[in-house]
């Protein structure tokens, strides 16, 4: 039974309620004035307490989307931490669509579970685009695809990530337009689904497009960790998984080959929250040609290593430094990228680190800040930072141009701040 499935949550809730009921019913059994009975009282209360706590944790996990499955929580036992495919043949598909449905629209709640997406037939092909619903509906809502991506260079293969195709992608006017791409990365622990359901990135983007504030883009939503439960921090691990290569080379290659998207400079941006924010900024600095734009919501700017990451840097302080945006700005030429860093003055421990990072930025790198007066490290705060971040990105990304016209919505009213 899935860790985040509704039935598992329901089962845990029933067990917790049953625990309380049993204690109430069997209460008199422990009513005698003996030491053993005293112990039994504490034991009974404790056991029912445990059941309730477990149900609560299961609920919190599915609410915040920390761990999407048992294997993400516990690791997958026999299989290696990251599946590195040996000798990927050229016939092997870089991207496989495993599910498709109408994309979330503004104002309509997104279902909370991850299991509602129907697994489409014909795994391994990309011609399932548009299968999730009717053409007329697609032109209104766009489509959300669940995908597997096989990294050709890194050999890293991931499952259960999401690609959002905006309504315009299906409209005749845009039939030959190429769209800019936003790569969105979750925090750790986290899941790609929480970008859809909790951050509500596709719905927010669509709301802004409808309001004429941003122009349509394809959004690729991925878990920043490619080896849950390990925190991989978008790092090329010496002698191990090349996670940075996966995100900066393999993912763009797979997306560019599967969808009508741009590949040139100005066509790609990275966005993330928490660990995903660190990833977005680090990858932009390492690969300015691929990600000249990055948005970091409550990210940090130093390469961390703890019990969730394991040894990411070959036990080498110098290599760890090379993965730190702060260190790079102090010791290497600044790269030609623009980054937007968001944090909040009250309630965010990333605020101090963000201020420090901003002081280190030198031309040609450009940094923009968005500081909320207040807000914690949660989706509510990031959701409030999202509209301005998307507008900032839209002003800088190369728009998809519809046939016979200028890029419609978006740019005009948007003035640079």
């Amino acid at each position: 039974m899935g860790l985040t499935s509704g039935s598992f949550g329901t089962l845990m809730f029933i067990l917790a309620a049953a625990g309380i009921a049993l204690v109430v019913v069997f209460w008199p059994l422990a009513a005698r004035q003996r030491p053993l009975a005293m112990l039994a009282r504490v034991g009974m209360v404790g056991l029912s307490q445990l059941l309730v706590i477990t149900a609560f944790l299961v609920y919190l996990n599915s609410y915040f989307g920390f761990y999407a499955s048992w294997s993400q929580l516990l690791g997958s036992g026999t299989t290696p931490i990251v599946k590195v495919a040996r000798a990927t043949g050229q016939d092997e598909s870089l991207l496989a669509i495993t599910g498709a449905e109408a994309a979330p629209v503004p104002g309509v709640p997104v279902p909370k579970t991850t299991t509602h997406i129907p697994v489409a037939e014909g795994k391994g092909s990309t011609d399932l685009i548009g299968r999730g619903t009717t053409q007329a509906a697609l032109e209104q809502t766009g489509e959300l695809l669940e995908v597997n991506i096989n990294g050709q260079h890194s050999g890293i293969a991931v499952v259960n990530d999401f690609v959002y195709l905006p309504p315009q992608y299906f409209q005749p006017a845009y039939a030959s337009s190429r769209f800019p791409v936003l790569l969105a990365l979750s925090g750790y622990p986290g899941s790609s689904w929480s970008i859809v359901s909790r951050l509500k990135l596709p719905a927010e983007q669509e709301a802004l497009v409808r309001a004429g504030k941003v122009r349509p883009a394809v959004i690729v939503m991925m878990n920043a960790s490619v080896a849950m439960p390990r925190d991989t921090e978008c790092t090329n691990i010496p002698g191990g998984p090349q996670v940075e290569t996966f995100f900066s080379e393999d993912v763009p290659a797979a997306i560019e080959r599967s969808f009508r998207v741009q590949s040139g400079p100005g066509g790609w941006a990275a966005l993330g929250y928490s660990t995903g924010g660190f990833c977005a900024v680090k990858m932009a600095m390492l690969n300015p040609g691929q990600f000249p734009l990055a948005v970091s919501l409550a990210g940090y700017y130093q390469a961390l290593q703890d019990h969730t990451t394991g040894d990411l840097y070959g036990n080498d302080k110098g290599y760890q430094d090379e993965n730190s945006p702060d260190w790079r700005l102090q010791h290497l030429p600044a790269p030609p990228v623009s980054v937007l860093v968001a944090s909040s003055k009250l309630g965010e421990r990333t605020y101090g680190g963000t201020l420090h990072f901003v002081t280190l930025v030198r031309p040609p790198m450009q940094v923009y800040t968005l500081y909320l007066p207040q807000g914690g490290h949660n989706f509510g705060t990031w959701g409030r930072e999202l509209p301005q971040s998307l507008i900032w990105l839209s002003m800088r990304l190369t728009p998809a141009v519809p046939a016979g016209g200028k890029a419609s919505a978006g740019g005009p009213s948007a003035t640079r701040t």
Binding site: I20, A87, G89, P333, S344, M365, Q374
Partner: protein
């Protein structure tokens, strides 16, 4: 009391303990079978549950700083208004990453157009590495007519100009000019750079800055960044150069040979062909070999890469040193390389232009075959 105030967990813990104590002590009274007592059992248990769940939540929230206040938690806080502010200085005028320092015509017999050999200085935007070298522009590049983008070959060698090595800039340019004039290869831009950058022979690798080599002088930590990112950027900005990996190749001798293979395998999105002398390539040459330890050493062992990482879509040619034939030391490499990687071997030509056939092969591999049909491959 604030959601994140330090007193809150203690308060909740104290309350929970008191409620637990009350429950345990009043147990016999609550055990009576009356509606009031049964109701109180449920209420007391639920209160205790709520207190303990609250305690867990508050402690976890404090450690992760998820919610900063009650209003943040309840979603009634709009966070106040804020807007995006530019926090950096205006960009300085773009500096040229590639400057031409000199130019000489490549002379061919019978007045054929040989193109030019220019001295260049590349200032790596990302690596900060500054290197001087040469670029050969074929006659077709300089001729009038429809402009097109040319494939680029990068030769990495420490051979000094005029030193007689076939890998020196003047001899490579002369060989290419001759081959192009004889229509055995199509026109290519050829960039020639030393393997030793910033006075450190580090096999074109990004060496971690903690390695002792970097304690002297300016740290040259990012040689791979220089060759794989700065170089294409600078060359594409300065010349009419193709940008796709299928039009970029590498050629090197000694350290440069390791550079060529390593750069192509690690950056198959930038380079699609590499030529190197037959060698074992289990460890980087020069200074890097003695400094690199542990997992870094594994990663820089090309045989380990072939065994453990996905094979890359690059074409490799082993040629030289001298007139060697067969696989030689490159045997393990050739055995391991399978599709999408392609490997071949060739013998360096005898006579004064050993690299002639290698250049012919590279021109075909990089999409610039000779105009008519009679150019020949090396095999």
């Amino acid at each position: 009391m604030g959601l994140t105030s330090p007193g809150l967990p203690y308060l909740l813990a104290l309350l929970a303990f008191v409620v637990l104590l009350v429950i345990v002590l009043c147990w016999p009274w609550l055990a009576r079978l009356a509606p009031l007592q049964v109701g109180l059992r449920i209420v007391s248990l639920c209160v205790l549950q709520a207190l303990i769940l609250g305690l867990i939540f508050v402690v976890v929230n404090r450690s992760g700083e998820f919610y900063s206040s009650w209003s943040d938690l309840l979603g009634t806080d709009d966070g106040g208004h804020a807007s995006v502010v530019a926090a950096s200085h205006l960009p300085e005028a773009t500096r040229h990453q590639l400057t031409v320092t000199g130019s000489a015509t490549v002379r061919l017999p019978f007045g054929h157009q040989g193109g030019v050999l220019e001295g260049i200085r590349i200032s790596g935007q990302l690596s900060g590495i500054v290197a001087t070298g040469h670029v050969y522009l074929p006659a077709a590049y300089l001729a009038r007519g429809p402009h097109k983008d040319y494939p680029v070959l990068t030769v990495i060698s420490d051979a000094a100009a005029g030193g007689g090595s076939p890998y020196s800039a003047d001899r490579v340019a002369q060989t290419a000019a001759t081959e192009i004039a004889a229509n055995r290869m199509g026109p290519l831009i050829i960039v020639m750079l030393p393997a030793t950058v910033n006075r450190v022979d580090q096999a074109c690798l990004n060496l971690p800055p903690t390695l002792p080599a970097h304690q002297v002088g300016s740290p040259s930590v990012q040689a791979e960044t220089f060759f794989a990112q700065d170089l294409p950027g600078a060359v594409e900005a300065a010349f009419r150069a193709a940008s796709q990996a299928s039009h970029w190749g590498l050629l090197g001798d000694q350290t440069g040979g390791y550079c060529a293979l390593q750069l192509a395998m690690d950056n198959s999105g930038v380079f699609s062909a590499a030529v190197a002398p037959r060698g074992a390539y289990t460890r980087p040459p020069g200074l890097a070999a003695s400094r690199i330890k542990g997992p870094f050493a594994l990663q820089d062992d090309l045989i380990w890469q072939l065994t453990n990482l996905p094979l890359q879509p690059v074409s490799v040619l082993f040629a030289g040193p001298g007139s060697a034939t067969g696989a030689g030391l490159a045997e393990p490499f050739i055995q391991l390389a399978q599709r999408p990687m392609r490997v071949s071997t060739a013998q360096l030509a005898a006579g004064s232009w050993p690299l002639a056939r290698v250049l012919d092969w590279l021109a075909i591999a990089l999409g610039s075959p000779p105009a008519s049909g009679h150019g020949q491959g090396t095999r």
